[in-house]
């Protein structure tokens, strides 16, 4: 009967029994972020960019909000002043990178295949295709998507979210996670405000504040140039800040 009650188990042979028991287990406390590997890669990107004194901005929005058009207008406005490079994220095609290269700016296209967002590893690979010594400002156009890009740190210094006038002013309330991650919110295609009178820019700001975010909410139009001066000023200030940091680090 001893094989049933366990009275033959001693300190010397207990491990034999335990090893053969399907129930033997160990619980390990982890308390690590699910995205720890991505976050490590993002920190690596940030250090890499800092070493070269490159300021990086992550642009996020829904597809068709005018990210590429804003980049084109920005490149034109800052031509001869800041050396810009662009990383383009899309599921497929080189179309956006070709639009940027046509403006004389180096652009790396990341085709994510089926992935709905950029991650730090993809951006890391793209960084190695660029001559960072010849870049002041890196603009990263994330995959058009208001959900997933928010979860992945790329190693950028600032994040910008765009909401275009045709989309409606309630986007920040509908996609709180992404808009909460933005350091600046741009209301793009603001030249359409006169046509689409249902859009209230003040409502965008109210929704952003409800996310406990102090991010400025500014209007821009790549078509008319409205707001580009302020946006470019913001980019200049960021480049100066990152340059100063890089200079301080090498002293």
């Amino acid at each position: 009967m001893c094989e049933h009650c366990g009275c033959t188990v001693t300190g010397g042979n207990a491990h034999l029994l335990e090893a053969g028991t399907p129930g033997a287990s160990r619980t390990v406390e982890v308390l690590e972020g699910l995205l720890a590997a991505n976050d490590r890669a993002a920190a690596h990107n940030r250090a890499h960019l800092a070493r070269h004194g490159v300021a990086a901005v992550n642009l996020m929005s829904a597809p068709g909000s005018g990210k590429t058009a804003l980049l084109e207008a920005t490149i034109e406005a800052l031509a001869g002043e800041l050396r810009i490079a662009v990383v383009e994220g899309d599921l497929a095609t080189e179309k956006d990178a070709e639009r940027i290269r046509a403006r004389g700016v180096p652009a790396v296209q990341i085709a994510t295949g089926t992935a709905c967002h950029l991650d730090a590893h993809l951006v890391h690979r793209a960084l190695h295709e660029l001559d960072l010594a010849a870049v002041d400002l890196l603009l990263i156009e994330n995959v058009g998507n208001l959900v997933c890009p928010a979860a992945f740190d790329l190693g950028q210094h600032r994040s910008v979210a765009l909401v275009s006038v045709p989309e409606g002013d309630d986007k920040p309330a509908k996609y709180p996670v992404l808009f909460r991650a933005a350091d600046l919110v741009l209301v793009s295609k603001c030249d359409l405000l006169g046509v689409l009178d249902g859009f209230d820019p003040a409502a965008v700001e109210r929704h952003v504040r409800a996310l406990a975010s102090a991010a400025p909410v500014w209007r821009v139009s790549a078509r008319t140039g409205e707001g580009l001066g302020r946006w470019c000023g913001w980019l200049r200030a960021l480049v100066a800040e990152v340059h100063a940091g890089a200079a301080a680090a090498t002293r």
């Binding site: 090893a19 160990r26 699910l34 979860a151 996310l211 406990a212």
Partner: protein, 127 residues
């Protein structure tokens, strides 16, 4: 939509932990997922069922603890629950300048490992 990518990252971590402890399988993974994390527990569970195939966690159970959002007011110092993920105002004074102190977690809390033959210690420990 990115829950499959999250599960792949989760399984890579679980496999590393299992290997480090000489375990041959992962029996259970417990996550803490806040409403402001951007991940949807239901989609995580569905993605996990697909992603775990062929890994050492292929029979593992996924447990998702869903936390609540808590904010601390920078103006009045009050601390309490937020109404919804898109209304993070102070529950006391109604001000918008608050700090999220809970609710944006995306954490692996613990994993339960099936011990490989010859392993015999039990109990919990930190990695």
């Amino acid at each position: 939509m990115h829950e499959l990518a999250l599960c792949r990252a989760l399984l890579a971590q679980a496999e590393r932990i299992a290997a480090a402890h000489g375990a041959h399988a992962v029996r259970r993974v417990e996550l803490r997922v806040g409403p402001l994390s951007g991940a949807v527990p239901e989609l995580l569970r569905a993605a996990f069922a697909v992603a775990r195939a062929g890994t050492c966690a292929q029979e593992a159970e996924l447990v998702v603890h869903e936390g609540a959002i808590e904010v601390e007011c920078e103006a009045c110092g009050a601390r309490g629950p937020a109404a919804t993920p898109n209304r993070l105002h102070c529950p006391a004074c109604g001000g918008w300048r608050t700090r999220v102190v809970a609710g944006d977690e995306l954490l692996i809390e613990r994993v339960e490992l099936a011990l490989a033959p010859r392993a015999r210690e039990g109990g919990a420990e930190h990695v």
